[in-house]
């Protein structure tokens, strides 16, 4: 027994080397007057180098909190209670000094916020903000930085000179998202988190932003984590998929596998509930119940119990763990084999 366990730790160590980010056992709680609410619970997540991972969850499921926890940027009243986040197999983000963390954010990890307009300074032109960013990260050649920013903006399909001379309110929603992407890449970060980056955009700008993300990812071999509630966008973009529900991962695997044969009732429900462009319109069914709220997080048994069509009594009392069904496909459900 002891032999196999050492072999296992060695192989996991080797695997972690290939991982741009390898987070283990992350727990985040939000302190409220009525007690702590566990927003992220026992989450293990790996982002293999050079891949796109999609994280799906409804609003309020804790997906943004998870991303913030990975960067050790959870703000009060939230608190990370346990876990480790290895960056390229070494530095633990949760242990580093705050100055080192600050340098890593931006230089190694780029981040695009959900509402790009809120992450830009309304009082300074975009160009000035790039210079601020450069100074904060001790970039010596600021001219080269601006030049690189211009190159990126052109790649993103924007008029670079105009954008650099603009304030954020002079740009449209799609342009701001693109500027956000530029900011995340301008310091040559190779890990990029995109939080609901296409949610506010309409179809055509969404498609072109996705296309640009895909191109840049290939060209620079970026590691991307894309967070969204829109399973359609994630299914289109990502190679791996993590289904997040009320602070826990309930299913993960290769995107095409998970979509073609979903195992968790929540994933099945989500896929059924997307308006599709082909197939029988009566086959689509809305997901029952409402998005998880604070009561869901405090539940004893399976978090999906209230909305589950195939629940049994045992689901109410104990919580299923994430188990491998086949290959990389993992699912947290007692009734994986149930036919319905």
């Amino acid at each position: 027994m002891s032999d196999t366990s050492t072999v296992n730790t060695e192989s996991t160590f080797k695997e972690q080397q290939k991982m741009a980010i390898s987070a283990r056992n992350i727990n985040v709680v939000y302190a409220t007057p009525t007690g702590d609410i566990p927003a992220v619970r026992n989450v293990d997540i790996d982002l293999p180098r050079g891949s796109i991972t999609g994280i799906i969850g409804e609003s309020g499921s804790g997906k943004s909190t998870l991303i913030m926890a990975i960067m050790n940027a959870v703000t009060k009243p939230g608190k990370i209670t346990s876990g480790s986040v290895l960056l390229n197999g070494e530095n633990d983000m949760l242990q580093l000094s705050s100055e080192k963390q600050r340098k890593i954010r931006g230089k190694e990890i780029g981040f695009v916020f959900q509402a790009a307009q809120n992450s830009l300074n309304p009082l300074r032109r975009i160009g000035q903000q790039i210079l601020d960013l450069g100074r904060a990260h001790e970039v010596h050649d600021l001219r080269a930085l601006i030049k690189y920013a211009k190159e990126l903006l052109i790649r993103l399909g924007l008029d670079a000179d105009r954008v650099l001379a603009s304030f954020q309110h002079e740009l449209s929603g799609g342009m701001r998202q693109r500027v956000g992407i530029m900011f995340s890449l301008v310091l040559n970060a190779n890990i990029v988190f995109l939080d609901e980056s296409t949610t506010a955009l309409d179809m055509l700008s969404q498609a072109s932003v996705l296309e640009i993300i895909r191109e840049l990812q290939k060209e620079k071999n970026l590691t991307i984590a894309f967070v969204s509630h829109d399973i359609g966008v994630i299914a289109d973009l990502s190679e791996r998929i993590e289904i997040f529900y009320a602070g826990e991962i309930v299913e993960e695997g290769k995107t095409s596998e998970v979509l073609a044969s979903p195992k968790h009732p929540y994933t099945k429900g989500l896929i059924k509930a997307i308006p599709k462009i082909s197939g029988d319109i009566d086959a689509a069914e809305p997901l029952k119940g409402s998005s998880p709220d604070y009561r869901t997080f405090k539940q004893e048994g399976c978090l999906f119990y209230d909305r589950c069509p195939i629940r049994t009594d045992s689901c109410r009392d104990s919580r299923p763990e994430l188990n491998i069904t086949s290959g990389y496909h993992k699912v947290a459900c007692f009734r994986v084999d149930a036919n319905d």
Binding site: M203, S205, A207, S208, I231, A235, A260, P286
Partner: protein, 332 residues
Amino acid sequence: MIEIKNLQKFFQIKAKFSNHKTVHAVRNVNLTISSGGALCLIGESGCGKTTIGRMLCGMERPSSGSIIIDGQDISRLKRGARAKLLQKIQLIHQDPYQALNPTHTIEQMMKATLKKVAKQKKKDVDWIRQRMDELLKLVGLDPETILFKYPHMLSGGQRQRVIIARALTVEPEMLIADEVVSMIDVSLRLGILKLLRYLRERHNISILFITHDIASARYLGNDTELYVVYKGMVIERGRTERVIRRPQHPYTQALLSAMPILKGIEKPGKDRFVITSQFKQSEEETRGCLFADRCPFKQSICDEKQPELIHNDDAYHACFFPKVRQVAAESI
């Protein structure tokens, strides 16, 4: 029945440091919605689809053209009569977070409108109570648990349902649903779409559905007509299913190509193409086709003449070089 004839709208933009500009927001739009029918306007943000909806419910005055509701031209009616007629058309906004008063409970809000209806109909307080429960149940909410709540205590989907219930208090004949699902979680969208379809099929309420998502438009029913709007002009129209399967205009094809593909259960259409150039709002009026600057299939005539909406193969399109391309994703 609602008819729109040659509807036009110009907006004057007063710029401080440059010349005043005129934006041609809606260009010669004609459409008919029969009672209990459904029509869907599709296009990017800024294409004028919302303006059409706003003119239809009287929030905006058309620059020219006429809106005829049950045979009466609303621009010729006196104020009182017009307001009464327009009550039959109710608008549901995109943003369910801003359309409700945050300081009123759902009960106060529903009662406020129902009181007015009750006065008109000479009904008593019991009727209000009964009607309130009836409407909330109709939109799929439980009156017991929802009446005492404030808007911030509800989810986006529930708020949108409350707004629909409020619109139904005046017994409208038509609902204008302006991007009603775009701010709601994807998992809850289908529920709202099914509700609209149910209202149409069971209660004979016609629906004008305004969206940028073609997939949502399909869920309003098989006989829905789809109008694709670009820069205020209808550039393609036909039955929804038919436009999705056999789109003729390059812009429609671009919209269909932009739909995300569900890896593992869908495969891209074989002619799929993605347009990366951005939609420019304020530019010089062109003599040619409005879409020419972004069209990948443009030829020289497209810069010189504007194509008109012509009938072809049981659908309408405005393009000199129409060609059916298979761009929509197909299920595997």
